[in-house]
Amino acid sequence: MEKAFIKKVQIGDAMDRVDARLKVSGAARYAAEYTLKSVVYGVLVTSTIAKGSIKEMDTRAAEKAPGVLAIINHKNAPKVPGHQAGTDNEGSRVYGQEFRLFYDNKIYHNDQPIALAIASTPEQAEHAASLIKVHYAQEKHQTNSKANTSNAITPARGKDYSRGTAYAFKNAPVNLELEYGTPIQVHNPMEPHATTAVWEGATKVTVYNKTQATKLSQQEIMKAFDLKEENVQAISPFVGGAFGSSSRVWPQEMAAIMGAKVTGKPVKVALKRDQVFNMVGYRPRSIQKIGIGATAEGILTGITHEAFTSTSQYEQFTERIVDPTKTLYNCPNLNTAYKLIPLDMSTPCWTRGPGETSGSFALESAMDELAYALNIDPLALRLKNYAPSDPEKNLPWSSNYLKECYQMGADRFGWNKRTPTPGSMRKDEWQVGMGMAAGIYKSERDAASAIATVLANGSVVVQSAVADVGPGSATIFTQIAADVLAMDVKQVTFEWGNSKLPKAPGQFGSHTTASVGSAIYEVCTLLKKKLQELAITMPNSELARAQQNDLVVEEGTVGLKNKQIQLSYADILKSHALPQVQVSTESKGGGPEQEKYSGKSFCANFVEVRVHSLTGEVRVNRVVSAVDCGRVVNKKTATSQVYGSITWGIGIALMEEAKLDHRYGRHLNNDLAEYHVPTCADVPPIEVLFVDKPDPVIDPMGAKGIGEIPLVGFSAAIANAVYHATGKRIRELPITPDKLL
């Protein structure tokens, strides 16, 4: 056999995805694709009113329909112990009383799940669901944020922020007071939410679900059904996009678990596209006021950011909408306020750049407006107000290459070719505009565990419960392990997406690489040391007299630096007669060292748009996105993360809007024909530039977060470019043609 060793894969290489073949060949199985033996199908029936109660539910016809096994509703659903326990505001991630499926006859929002029809085939279940007749006692609902700002509340978990003098912008030589708005946006992952649940006896349940956090799924199900950790397993290796919408346990999981309990069979529940609009979270509508003031030279003297977002009547969902404002610029006087508007809607949920995305639209639009008021180039204004340290925490940055992002981005984009006057750049019938914006996003590290095992044949298995919802985490963790252990990447297998594996945080908040990557880096480093020890202590070892410091690992071997002796991992195990060697680690999150610094990722986005002078249609010509995400672990997957953010950013800026008819409190455009996301034709060439300098503090790889940062500020960059093209400032997204006529 020829020597299998190819090239050592290193952190930073643009390695192909380890699961690419599985995904493109259809072999990767998603939550709705586990067809367990004797599985049956559940279809959720949802409410058609937004507020009130169920007076009567007639299920007789449905029960008699062909293939039907059970119709479950609030009257006959199995009791969920966690639902009886009352509100848990200590342990919950969202303040308030979580939605309790089939708990009582109350209706809190339109499209609320109120019954589950279970039948032998999906078609039979669907048909049975359509036969259920519901009579309601309807109450007057409120779903319009704008009309309900006077009912806004201060969230229990959120406080106003102030440094220096509040409202100082009012006394600035140049000041603006502006209002911005963003509509409800829906995650709309390609894969709708689905779960298959199966019980073993009365105390053990397994769910194949769509989750960003198998351990959180496990814990929430344990809590709800009062089960032991070892008796609840959440399995979710492949997720077809989630963007925050799979960071909680939702009705489809609860319904499948209850359905499986009632029928004694595995039950599969998949949501229909319209059901993902008001059942599994969404980005809430925002209404924002920004006051911004500067000296005539463009030095910021005051910013005030007041934001409202909507929430449900039963939970207070807060997001980080005013956070970028606190830290992006070096402004001495700054105050923020944040209020929630409770509506008869389901609870919103974290949505890629949750808060930062909406908040930065307001902040970065306002910076552009200020630049015009001052007659200063928008990029120059940002450079003048660069924050040399975190002005909120008063801490040095762990690393900050925002200035490099500005420079790289502007150079590549050709920002200096921009003529500042709005409407001054034109090509044929199209008005051309250039806009830019900056972004900032937290970069943190959480505790995570991992196990690494070297097997008798010298190959290595690394395990973590972490999810990979699409960013390529499984790939980069394979890569980190292969790098640390100096192995052929084909000899490394990474196992993930199962709650029985070592504990990992949820894949959200752009901290998976830093958290789980650190655990894998550490556990592989431990395994390397263990192999070095074993190489020294193996019988008749050629390295018996070596010190550990003399040894290197290379090409799957332990040996001397001069390569005169190289012992393969397989031989080391063989001579110790070991079937395998396993090590585990629990990597800590932000320790005392990290607490001395403020960790953030940064970006600068540059956009060129064209706006048709007659029809007002906006098309994006090109995008340059310059990102400081620390050291890039895999250029390919990191670049894809930027592509994803920019593509969504185009959608947010130009087309995405979930529309409700407030008379009914119900979504109108709840499908992918009417809720517009960018098509291929809407997405121009995107140039991605990485500073690619390691962060010395956050984790041993030098990586910072990448999943969300490019989206922060991006919609403002487009709005700013549209202003530059047309002289029209659109402060309410999306920027559709009718707003530009």
């Binding site: 048909h127 007002g616 130009l654 024909a673 009417e674 034709a681 559709t736 009718d738």
Partner: protein
Amino acid sequence: MRPFIYTPTSTVSAATQKLKANPHAKYLAGGTNLLDLMKEDVEKPTELVDITRLVLTEVKAITTGVNKGGITIGALGKNTDTANHPLIRQNFPLLTQSILAGASAQIRNMASNGGNLNQRTRCPYFYETSMPCNKREPGSGCGALEGINRMHAIFGWSQACVAVHPSDMCVALAALDAVVKVQGADGKERSIPFTDYHRLPGDTPQKDNTLNPGELITSIEIPINNFANTSYYLKVRDRASYAFALISVAAGVELEGTRIKQAKIALGGVAHKPWRALEAEKFLIGKEATEANFKQAAELEMKSAKPLEHNEFKIELGKRAITRALMQAMTGGKA
């Protein structure tokens, strides 16, 4: 979704007999709209008569008679094949452009020509069974009249219905003076001028067109014209692809020297049927093909528009779109 009977057929007469026998049956061709509507519980046929095996797919030149030089298009031809047929690309580029502006490549590969004519409105109130819609449930009211009606009609609407016809292809066919050939269960054939095929809502918005019950479209005929090189299909939409028109314009300009002999203009996204811009057409006869004249024609046409709460922008957009489509037509709008 309700249970239904599936009935394959292989001849026009067999198909029409099936429809005659069961008034709750529907023809199934590409299914790109009907199956969606069945899943949404909007269409509730008890039987689907599959007509996809009928031999009605041909595109051929008309070589004799008054329509010599024109073309006939089989009702079951796929939208994609029709758009890309060499005769159509060469002689009727307006039709090619309009088809390719609609839906997505995948849908066009499935969708039939006859089905394109018979597709139903995409008004969200029509789809949303928990809200009123006179088209879906006669007498229940119009949800859109005082609802979210940004996408809705500005011409020819009634208190009963403000929905628009969603097709792009039909807008071009209206401008091209096409004729719809249909056959009933009695074997009789009828020819319906395209502009009479779809109807305005009036008090009976549940009726989209003037087909008699059970009648089947067999083909569409398009007469030859002299504006293949001076025509253009403009579609203004919220995103670059796969979006229904805010407004679309099919425009053909026949010149005599520098003057306009006749202009054919139809608008999409503005009415319950493709809207022939007769006022604009009338004005342009004998005029110079200048931007100023196009603008004036557009102004005249939009004068009778009646906006709803959320679609007033369509009046200004319509003026601009008509002007732009005519200007583009003059630069030679080959597909």
